[in-house]
């Protein structure tokens, strides 16, 4: 890790990160941007009894002022923004509750009819009680958390950037922290300059308070006390692949693939049935 950091530092001193208006990662100041994606995809739900989230029609909006920005459910204020680095205070909706609730902001515009096909509760364990499974239908509802904290963007080169953030729930839902770090690398093709491919490697860290709030089992969930589960913090690495092909000024084709390898602190929970969290989407986007 130390050597990767040093390598990135060397690269950053020789290359200059600039905002290229032809690139999706560059956005005009003081303009709202609205777009819609229409296609087919799914975000898997790793919980017993959890419903996968189909992706059919997805809205996207953003606004960047001189310092302030909104990117879907993320609000931010950048108090340092240089060519190589930006430091921002941000607030965003915590993702975890999306797996416990149908009415998470990220689930808006998702049609219900797909759930009957892909949201089937898993069959009871055949280990005859050795492995306890608890469906989210049988536990207390989890609340939405609004996180706030610090985000740092480091534009290492004009093709590579690193994003790191540390957040704390500001509405005292789980009273803990979470953090994320990821490195993004863009691939451009001289022969096909309408195409962009982005590869992301990263990891999500959750404090024990957050893991236990969402994935733990306490006496409110299980009054008998036979399946109580409390655990430690978690770190779940992930990989993402994003492809974008510009058809016209408004229309583009995009493909998203991602897999998050869930930490054992999560997968050992009686609530969790899957080891990974997958996202797939292919479709077209229209920018208004």
């Amino acid at each position: 890790m130390k050597y990767i950091f040093l390598l990135l530092l060397c690269l950053s001193s020789s290359l200059y990160a600039q905002c290229n208006v032809e690139n999706e990662e560059c956005i005009a100041i003081d303009e709202w941007q609205f777009s819609l994606a229409l296609g087919a995809g799914v975000i898997t739900n790793p919980l017993h009894g959890g419903k996968n989230i189909p992706l059919i029609l997805i809205p996207n909006f953003s606004y960047y002022g001189e310092n302030f920005f909104i990117e879907n459910s993320v609000l931010g204020y950048s108090f340092i923004e240089e060519s190589h680095i930006a430091v921002s205070l941000i607030s965003q909706v915590n993702r975890e509750n999306a797996f416990f609730s149908r009415w998470h902001p990220s689930n808006i515009f998702v049609t219900e009819r797909f759930n009957s096909a892909i949201g089937v509760s898993p069959p009871p364990s055949e280990d005859n009680g050795e492995e306890i499974e608890i469906s989210l239908d049988d536990i207390e509802k989890r609340a939405w958390a609004i996180d706030g904290g610090l985000q740092i963007n480091w534009f290492v080169t004009n093709k590579t950037d690193v994003k790191a953030q540390v957040l704390h729930d500001i509405n005292s839902v789980y009273n803990g922290f979470n953090a994320q770090i990821e490195i993004n690398h863009f691939l451009h093709f001289q022969q096909v300059d309408q195409a962009i491919v982005k590869l992301t490697l990263g990891g999500n860290w959750q404090s024990s308070e957050q893991v236990n709030y969402y994935y733990g089992i306490d006496t409110q969930d299980d009054s008998s006390g036979s399946a109580l589960y409390q655990t430690t913090s978690s770190f779940s690495p992930y990989i993402k692949l994003f492809g974008h092909y510009q058809l016209t000024q408004q229309w583009a084709v995009r493909v998203n693939l991602s897999r998050e390898f869930l930490s054992s602190s999560l997968t050992n929970s009686p609530l969790v049935s899957e080891d990974t969290l997958d996202t797939f989407f292919v479709g077209v986007t229209y920018v208004f």
Binding site: N23, C26, S35, E71, K240
Partner: protein, 131 residues
């Protein structure tokens, strides 16, 4: 899609005129810098170009050329001189010809203009953050 900002610099070959200031003999010194403007694609982009500096006085003088507050060239007992200077700048830049006492013989500003009035930022979050 990315390219050096220099690619976007289009030089405007606009003649500049004498602009004497606070000189003991201001009317006797001609001072010119060409070109006097650089056009970049968007505000905030840097421009890299080479400017040609030329000055002429009726009598020999000792003088220095300043790029803002930085001394770049000096001449001793010359009545005319020419120099090429590579510059990289993001905002308008003032050039002055001064004597040894730091008095300004003449000055000229080199302008940076953007072809688009829009300003841009890097996205700080991925769009479609649902993914």
């Amino acid at each position: 899609m990315y390219s050096k900002t220099g690619k976007y610099c289009y030089l405007l070959l606009i003649f500049c005129f004498i602009k004497p200031v606070n000189s003991t003999e201001p009317s006797q010194i001609e001072f010119s810098i060409k070109p006097i403007a650089c056009v970049v694609k968007q505000a905030g982009d840097a421009c890299t170009m080479t400017v040609k500096v030329h000055w002429r006085a009726k009598l020999p003088i000792n003088s220095c050329l300043y790029q803002e507050d930085e001394k770049t060239f000096c001449w001793q007992d010359k009545s005319e001189a020419m120099a090429n200077l590579a510059i990289n700048f993001k905002e308008n830049m003032m050039f002055t010809l001064r004597d040894e006492g730091n008095n300004i013989f003449a000055q000229q500003e080199v302008l940076i203009n953007s072809s688009s009035s829009k300003k841009y930022r890097r996205r700080l979050r991925s769009s479609w953050s649902l993914f």
